[in-house]
Symmetry: C2
Subunit: 461 residues, 2 copies
């Protein structure tokens, strides 16, 4: 399990490209992330339809008859119409009040009512990330979670600077690709699927070169591998104190403990649609005073425009001070939904929230073990609490089990780590599905998995 220090050699890419046909995108460009990401469609389940097999997007019908989708309601007492329960590792099921906030009437993005809402949202993020240091700086931008990578790569790294990426799966590979686009000199410490680089290897790498920045994917959504942060951060502060510690928290913020100040993290980037429980469309991040200072000490201008901290920092500071300010128009509706979601989160102690996610995760992981199945994340200490990636029995295909679950109104996701994509499925358990026992989502999903596997002919050996 010794991770290989590599510069992102992607041996399998020619195969991917062959299956996709001749590339029409520029050949000279690097890093060559598009075909790989493209082919690695999440295959989050096409209910009652054939599922794509890995590295093909060509086999799906070009027209989909959505009237065939299941319509049965899965729970009562909701303002939402009947729909299958979405238990993929994001987007997750959303609370009624959060969805209703999405329909907020139109407001000026610089009017006092919206400015107050945005300002409160930014202040609440400080509590979610557990930072009371006034030098910490939150950002909320319209964009996918991926935009957070650009925010880090275009502002905290200058061309030619060394970056160490801890490789725990598909998403750390993506972060590495992004850093390279903006000129980062990336070393990726890669672990085999289902594990992560270990502290001794990381210490060795840090002692060999002076890295401007280290990135760690807290939970790699491709594998469900959890990277412990407290000891990692302590190691970095001891061995390479000038290295900024940047966490990809897309699949961890609001379901895994993150003590931003206590662990002296320098940046956590995340998205709205996972454990925070707000529809997709927002890149949400927090940076330390030290990270902001590193940005201010740049010798070259930020390498992006929309993702430039130069353009956004004062805007965020003004919104938080309830002063109108403009760089680009934010989405009042999404900010309202995030505001509602954060109010719900902060109405209870965060420790309770993390404990409830752990409790549900333990129950799911026990059920998986009771079924005689293994997780992709093999080490119990490295298993996420908001999702579970489950190896299928050899006799059961993804293309059988996912539609079987769909018929039971439960939507799981297929695999996405390219070395093992067909061999496992992903079960997301974050937010209201875990916190609202009246929904019964988790028990129903476990039952559906048990029944579905039985229908596929699987019996525990």
């Amino acid at each position: 399990m010794i991770p290989e220090v590599s510069r992102l050699a992607h041996a399998s890419r020619p195969v991917v490209r062959r299956l996709l046909g001749p590339p029409s995108m520029p050949r000279q460009t690097a890093p060559d992330s598009s075909p790989a990401r493209l082919s690695l469609i999440s295959r989050h389940l096409a209910p009652v339809y054939p599922i794509n097999t890995p590295y093909t997007v060509e086999r799906l019908p070009s027209t989909i008859d959505t009237s065939l989708l299941p319509k049965a309601q899965t729970r009562a007492m909701s303002s939402q119409p009947p729909h299958p329960t979405l238990l993929i590792p994001g987007p997750i099921e959303f609370d009624d009040a959060v969805l209703q906030s999405m329909s907020h009437y139109s407001e000026s993005h610089v009017g006092p009512a919206f400015v107050a809402t945005f300002g409160e949202t930014l202040s609440m993020l400080r509590k979610l990330f557990q930072t009371s240091d006034p030098a910490s700086q939150p950002f909320v931008l319209s964009g996918s979670g991926t935009l957070g990578w650009d925010l880090v790569a275009a502002n905290l790294v200058e061309a030619g600077e060394d970056v160490l990426v801890l490789g725990s799966g598909y998403f750390s590979d993506g972060f590495a690709d992004c850093l390279k686009v903006y000129g980062g000199n990336v070393t990726e410490l890669k672990a085999p699927p289902g594990s992560k680089p270990q502290l001794p290897e990381i210490e060795k790498a840090l002692s060999e070169k002076r890295y401007k920045l280290l990135t760690v994917t807290h939970v790699d959504t491709s594998t469900g591998v959890l990277s412990e942060l407290k000891n990692l951060a302590a190691l970095v502060h001891r061995v390479s104190p000038e290295t900024l510690i940047i966490v990809d928290g897309v699949c961890s913020v609001a379901c895994e403990e993150i003590d931003f100040d206590g662990w002296k993290l320098d940046g956590v980037v995340t998205a709205s649609q996972k454990a925070i429980g707000c529809p997709a469309g927002l890149s949400i991040s927090m940076f330390s005073g030290r990270a902001m200072q590193a940005f201010q000490n740049r010798k070259t201008p930020p390498a992006a425009y929309f993702a430039s901290m130069k353009n956004w920092t004062h805007i965020m500071q003004n919104y938080e001070a309830k002063k109108p300010s403009y760089f680009a128009t934010p989405s009042p509706q999404l900010i309202h939904a995030l505001h509602t979601a954060l109010k719900q989160i902060l109405a209870r102690p965060l420790s309770e929230r993390f404990a409830l996610h752990k409790e549900a995760s333990d129950r799911i992981k026990k059920a998986v073990a009771d079924l005689g199945l293994k997780q992709v994340a093999s080490n119990p200490d490295e298993q996420a609490h908001g999702m579970t990636a489950i190896y299928l029995p050899e006799t059961v295909k993804q293309t059988d089990i996912l539609p079987s679950l769909a018929k039971k109104n439960v939507v799981f996701a297929g695999g996405i780590h390219k070395e093992i994509a067909t061999k496992y499925i992903r079960f997301g358990h974050m937010g209201v599905s875990v916190l609202d026992p009246k929904r019964g989502d988790i028990d129903r999903a476990i039952k559906a998995l048990q029944d579905g596997l039985a229908e596929c002919g699987y019996q525990k050996a």
Copy 2:
């Protein structure tokens, strides 16, 4: 009115910076767009509050008592709660059905139902942009409209290539700044506030240098100046046929005629929250086959990651072919709202929509003239049809008239063009406020303007 060919010399910036206090952002960075944009807060009205004067964000109260905001309903028969009518040049008032689509229950971003919705949305955009050329490529990304500038600058221009920006106001300056961040060698043909570069000047500029790309802001939201596109495009094709023609259509798409194929445009970038009538949060664009070919012929990789056409082109093509595909998670709720908005738009002939916007605009402009007031856009042929920028009488302050309008439940915006910001107000008239006569928004706003000016002591000379 001969525009000055300049390289974006911003003489007023030291003043801006002084008013904002010492810069905490890096000094070496260029272009220095942040302080300018920051200071130019839209001042879209703080109902019943003092409005910021230009170049200050410091005078607003740090705490806003939103209970003081007007609560009266402005129209009946809506599912929206009472709220002031938003008549700024975006975001606009939204239709009930569009807002309801924002609350759509959670769906997998790669599930067949959402893939079908996204695919239909992309196909409908072809109709909105009036392109039937299959080589044309639509993009819909999570982000502000500003992200469209990055899409152009990071993909269609390589470092050191020459770009001609037609400068008609604040937003063309912004596009120029963005192009420079990605290495474009920008020449901005600047016109005085309220006008635009004229064809002879443009012809002269095009004949002096070979430009990779020309940008034109169809309607500059800062001034309401409309740049005619048909003759401009014909000129470019005649004088400099290899130059790509890129249109900033943020304040024009869906309210001004744009014949993408007929005029042989190469790119139009826009946002969701203006005349398209969908809440903010989406960057929407269309590029010609020729533009996509120029992208494919790049010698260097795209200069951004989230805004990279390399990462998104196949994804958009797959969604449109109803095949699931993944690069970064789109926002299913925003895409549903855009789908609803586009269905509404395309249910009637586009020509009728443009005519209704022109009719309302004519009525507003006549009312403005009848009041003895002048528009910022002085030439009637250069006046936008979705907004009107109105010079205030010398005796009336922005800080008096905007709150007076707010008390009448009408929200206008302040000025934003930095040379004249305090001297004018902006009235947005796009989408349902123009198309749904039952709302009575336009007549009520005209009446509010008349009454408000009278209350401020103004009488026509």
